[in-house]
Amino acid sequence: MNAFHSFFPMAIALLQEESTHVNPLVLIASLYVFALAAFLGYQLISRVPPLLHTPLMSATNAISGISLIGSLVIAGAHHENHALLASILGCVAVTSATINVTGGFLITDRMLKMFRKKEVIKPGEQK
């Protein structure tokens, strides 16, 4: 419990110290974005029928491959320290994120293509 109590003042101190680095308004805006995205996510995902839960999982996976854009900057930027290490880490991150983006969108589409309302009308049969 003790550690718990001392953690919050410490966290606040860190936040205050941080305000010298980053505009706190940006931080607050980020938290707004997070909270609103969480609500929106809840609304959107609750409406997905169980029928599509597997495509949903692969779709959200592909979408969260957006961390690719962070990896791209690291892999492509010029770094003062540890330049090679940073580039290699960035390169591996680009690789893993790209696997998810390409693989994820392709397999989601492949799955969704298979969901049909009624079978193709058989020859000689009217609807």
Binding site: A11, E17, E18, H21, S30, F34, A37, L40, G41, L44, P49, L51, L52, T54, P55, L56, M57, S58, A59, T60, N61, A62, I63, S64, G65, I66, S67, L68, I69, G70, S71, L72, V73, I74, A75, G76, H78, S87, L89, G90, V92, A93, V94, S96, A97, T98, N100, V101, T102, G103, G104, L106, I107, D109, M111, L112, K113, M114, F115, K117
Partner: protein, 458 residues
């Protein structure tokens, strides 16, 4: 800010909106495909926009990564539908790995100059990312059966896990206080990697749907934390959507098993050898394919209940064939899908869709249960716990309270089963001993094929 920055931000905003529209499309099978094309366009735009980021000065590493990633990603999109669970687990691992590497790289580049809040987000990102990476790899190995699917447990496992979890948190806090000590940071990463392994090895294959959803959630949250570190809103939005999707799925899966997430993670369910299930006594009545064929062909309503056995036997096409010839004879055929049937959420739906079963014939548990008493024949294909009436009737059962598809209320039941042994969970299933239940032993696929032939001969 240069005008280029505004353009890139506008592209990111557009991408966020397209992702949201994409997920909205998933609310119905008819709109799903178009939605995902929008989301893919959003992703392409975001990636291309980023390449024009003024910070990006060299393209060699980017190119290597993009080419290597596509070279692995495209074949991974061609796996058999029965391999979907392990493929998805692997992609959770890659997503989490990407997020953790971005975190590690940011720390390597900026050291302790990031500022308190970003350090916190970075630590959170790397912590979640590392445990999700190894956890997902273990899950994939189990699903691929390169590792045994039964829970792997040892004495004091929960204690070791607790100790590890505490050390992760401890190293994290210590590192926040002394950010100039990389050792603390990498100790946290190391503990995270080990923790991921230990978290998943005690989990039985039947609980995989929950674990898959949880790992999905963690991978998403790690991406969202990356967004905080990089002050990038599209990352926060996409990561949060992924995180919440996984979270909601975990809750749905747990509810479908009447268990809590802690129970799934630390219960080691499949390992508990069913102590006492004497309630299920009697004889199982074995039937022949010809008998079943007659039963099916002259029924009015038939419901198929698929389980993981359908996937292992690759029997999805065979069941559709049987369904088709029954429909030609005027039998009303439906498929009942339990939320945790298979190894990941929605697994059975995808397999049946692959075999060309129209989705209008697929019914959820709640929809089909009221129709059970008026169903002439229920055919259980490689499913066990999801139709175990003990869950409803026997409060002492290990699966007591788990919602089931009430196959036992149908007029007659046919169970396709590989052998006479107990199922994965080791629980007796009283359904198999009922007078109206016939057992058709053998591989699900060959049983179904012989049923097709027998019905055609009638």
């Amino acid at each position: 800010m240069s005008y280029l920055t505004y353009v890139i931000e506008a592209i990111y905003l557009t991408a966020s909106i397209l992702f949201i529209l994409g997920l909205k499309g998933l609310s119905h099978p008819d709109t799903a495909r178009r939605g995902m094309i929008l989301a893919a366009l959003g992703m392409a735009a975001a990636v291309i926009g980023t390449l024009f980021n003024p910070q990006v000065v060299s393209y060699q590493w980017i190119l290597i990564g993009l080419v290597a990633g596509s070279a692995i990603g495209v074949p991974m999109a061609r796996v058999a539908m029965t391999a979907m669970p392990q493929r998805t687990a692997l992609s959770h691992a890659f997503g989490a790995l990407a997020a953790s590497l971005v975190g590690v790289a940011e720390y390597v580049i900026h050291g302790s100059h990031l500022g308190g809040f970003k350090m916190g987000a970075l630590g959170f990102e790397v912590m979640l990312g590392s445990l999700t990476t190894t956890g997902s790899i273990i899950a994939a190995l189990k699903l691929q059966e390169w590792m045994r699917g039964t829970p792997i447990q040892f004495k004091g496992q929960n204690f070791v896990n607790l100790l590890l979890a505490l050390s992760i948190v401890g190293f994290f806090i210590a590192w926040l206080i002394k950010p100039e000590m990389p050792l603390l940071f990498f100790a946290m990463v190391g503990c995270g990697l080990v923790f991921g392994v230990l978290l998943v090895i005690p989990i039985g294959a039947a609980d995989m749907p929950v674990v898959m959803s949880l790992l999905n959630s963690y991978a998403g949250l790690a991406s969202a934390a990356t967004g905080f570190v990089l002050s990038n809103n599209v990352l926060i939005i996409a990561g949060t959507l992924d995180g919440f999707s996984g979270f909601i799925l975990s809750i749905l899966m747990c509810r479908a098993m009447n268990r809590s997430i802690t129970n799934v993670l630390f219960g080691g369910f499949g390992a508990v050898v069913a102590q006492d299930t004497t309630a299920a006594g009697g004889v199982m009545r074995e039937v022949s394919a010809d008998d079943v064929a007659v039963q099916l062909a002259y029924a009015n309503r038939v419901v198929f209940i698929p389980g993981y056995g359908l996937a292992t036997a690759q029997a999805q096409h065979a069941v559709r064939e049987l369904g088709d010839i029954l429909e030609e004879r005027g039998v009303a055929v439906k498929y009942a899908i339990h939320p945790v049937a298979g190894r990941m959420p929605g697994h059975m739906n995808v397999l049946l869709a692959e075999a060309n079963v129209p989705y209008s014939s697929l019914y959820e548990m709640e929809q089909i249960n009221p129709e059970m008493p008026s169903t002439d024949v229920v055919v259980v294909i490689g499913a066990n716990d999801v139709v175990n009436p003990d869950a409803r009737d026997n409060p002492k059962s290990l699966i007591a309270g788990m919602p089931i598809i009430e196959a036992d209320r149908a007029r007659s039941v046919v169970v396709l089963k590989r052998g006479k042994g107990k199922g994965f969970s080791g629980l007796e299933n009283p359904l198999f001993f009922k007078a109206v239940t016939g057992m058709l032993y053998g591989d699900a696929k060959s049983s179904l094929t012989s049923l097709v032939q027998a019905v055609q001969k009638l």
